[in-house]
């Protein structure tokens, strides 16, 4: 038992000779919005499926809400809402009928309050007016919303979402993001698996990065994006600045210089003192994109020489 919401130890899955997930130690804590990143084919989905007891680990262990998976997965799964690899529903039934069936299946869906739960979930995702249309007539975005509604039915303590904004328009993406932040504020832990770095960057407090089955990074976003100690200077007198700062310029991109060393205030004083005009001067912080691209290889959907390392 631990305080963690998701805790894996040396979680490994082999399909024949292929090791899809290799000794992964995930640690998701209560209240996190955890971003689970990695290129396509890096093992994200397999890991998510192992967390939910759909795929059985070759070795290692999973604890979900303090319960070992899959041995006691049933106890934990009732408190988890999930969207795995896109939504799915019975095409010839309406969205409401689908949710009603989903609520009736499995434990913990008392009948008298079922209609209320279904209405609430539909309202949450903006589908309350959808009526009796069968799901097969839904747009991709509506299906995504319905999948999200199904995940939210039981007011879960943990939301496991795999690419939840797939197929949504910018307005929809914004709504989902707002919804996640709102739910998180109300105490729901969110595990967000995505390859959209920007999406993760905007909402997640912690990230884990998977590459070729290995967890190559797991840290707080705040720590990852702490100042690097360098200063970025933009100046129309770039050539003069370079000669002045001799050797301390780490990189130059036209008028932009990355300068190692002194505090920004001192640097500013130095430059201005020499009559060099400064248009912008900021602390360097790395973007998530830089961090992730720096440590991961290309996705498995690339089939040229680079992927076949």
């Amino acid at each position: 038992m631990s305080d963690s919401v998701i805790l894996t130890r040396a979680l490994t899955k082999r399909f024949g000779s292929l090791t899809a997930v290799d000794a992964v130690d995930l640690d998701v804590r209560p209240g996190d919005i955890y971003g689970f990143l990695g290129p396509n084919g890096s093992g994200k989905t397999t890991t998510v499926r192992m967390l939910l007891g759909l795929v059985l680990a070759t070795s290692g262990s999973v604890e979900l809400l303090g319960e070992p998976v899959p041995r006691r997965a049933k106890r934990a799964l009732g408190r988890v809402g999930a969207l795995v690899e896109g939504p799915a529903a019975y095409g010839d039934l309406s969205g409401r009928a689908n949710l009603t069936l989903a609520d009736a299946a499995g434990p913990g869906g008392p009948r008298p309050t079922r209609k209320r739960r279904v209405d609430e979930a539909l309202e949450r995702v903006g589908l309350s007016e959808v009526g009796r249309r069968p799901v097969k007539a839904y747009s991709l975005g509506m299906r995504q919303r319905l999948g999200l509604a199904a995940a939210l039915l039981r007011r879960p303590e943990l939301l496991v979402l795999d690419e939840p904004t797939n197929g949504l328009d910018p307005q929809g993406i914004h709504e989902v993001r707002a919804l996640l932040i709102e739910l998180n504020a109300a105490g729901t832990t969110v595990f967000l698996s995505s390859h959209l770095l920007a999406e993760v960057e905007q909402v997640c407090g912690r990230i884990g990065v998977l590459d070729e089955g290995r967890l190559v990074l797991q840290d707080d976003v705040a720590a990852l994006r702490a100042p690097t100690g360098n200063t970025v200077v933009s100046t129309p007198d770039a050539d003069r600045a370079v000669s002045l700062l001799d050797g301390r310029v780490a990189a130059r991109d036209g008028d932009r210089l990355v300068v190692r060393g002194p505090e920004p205030a001192d640097l500013n004083a130095l430059l201005v003192g020499e009559g060099i005009r400064v248009t912008e001067l900021i602390l360097e912080r790395r973007t998530l994109e830089e961090i992730v691209l720096g440590i991961t290889g290309p996705g498995s959907d690339r089939v040229d020489g680079r992927a076949a390392r």
Partner: protein
């Protein structure tokens, strides 16, 4: 979960289309018989059919005999083959399992729903056949295969009811085979065709003298035993064996389905 599966089955349009098609064949046969007045030669064609022209009350039994060899097992194989593989193909299987619905429980619920489908199908076929038969051919007391006096209305109803039940139970083996295959493959069509292959193999082996030793174990061996309900007195021997055989088939195959499904990676 069983209720959920039953509701799901009853609300699907495919369920009712299948039953309607199943119903269409005996009805067509009845209309053709009535319009041409050409019954099959005695001793040929499906059981009881030659006697139907003079007694519409026999038509429910004859209709069961018409759909029993192929139509009914195909319908059952389609529904049972779809049970798990269909959910896998639609992607809904993963959502059921993380709801969470136990895998064993899901299997049992699926089987119950298939059995319910079969029973609804045979009851609909028999009831339609009763109305069509008595309407087209008139009604007379039900005779027995053994000759002798006709059956009392109560006996006739009881025996026809038992025949319906027996024919429904005879489909258990096919249903279990399709359900087992359905846990192995992610394509409902593959599971259905696999079950039909087993069925055809059983039918072929049954006609083969060299396979005589296998006969008592073939799932279709006792299918025609529902005729024994219309002998006087009822010949229970094959009926009892037929039910026992189907129960054993369900037991073993469901156990295998359980062993496979509960230890399998759901990657659909």
């Amino acid at each position: 979960m069983i209720m959920v599966e039953l509701r799901k089955m009853l609300r699907r349009r495919r369920t009712w289309v299948t039953i309607a098609l199943l119903d269409a064949l005996p009805t067509l046969v009845a209309v053709l018989l009535a319009t041409t007045n050409l019954g099959p030669q005695p001793g040929t064609g499906p059981a009881f059919l030659s006697a139907v022209l003079s007694n519409g009350n026999l038509f429910p039994a004859a209709a069961l005999a018409i759909v029993l060899p192929l139509f009914l097992p195909v319908a059952v194989a389609v529904v049972a083959g779809d049970a798990v593989a269909g959910e896998a193909q639609a992607g809904t299987l993963r959502y059921l399992l993380i709801r969470p619905v136990g895998r064993t429980r899901l299997l049992v619920a699926k089987l119950v729903s298939v059995v319910a489908f079969t029973l609804i199908a045979v009851v609909v076929v028999a009831v339609t056949a009763y109305f069509v038969g008595t309407h087209l051919f008139g009604s007379a007391p039900l005779p027995t295969v053994s000759g002798g006096p006709t059956l009392s209305p109560a006996q006739a109803t009881l025996r026809t009811g038992l025949a319906i039940l027996y024919v429904g139970l005879s489909m258990l083996g096919v249903a279990a085979v399709a359900l087992l295959l359905s846990t192995f493959v992610d394509s409902p069509l593959a599971a259905t065709l696999g079950a039909l292959a087993v069925l055809i193999a059983s039918t072929v082996l049954l006609t083969l003298d060299a396979a005589h030793a296998l006969n008592p174990y073939l799932p279709t061996r006792y299918w025609l035993a529902f005729v024994d309900l219309f002998r006087q007195p009822i010949l229970w021997r094959d009926l009892v064996r037929g039910v026992a055989l189907q129960v054993v088939y369900v037991g073993v195959l469901l156990l295998a389905a359980w062993a496979n499904f509960t230890t399998k990676d759901v990657t659909s």
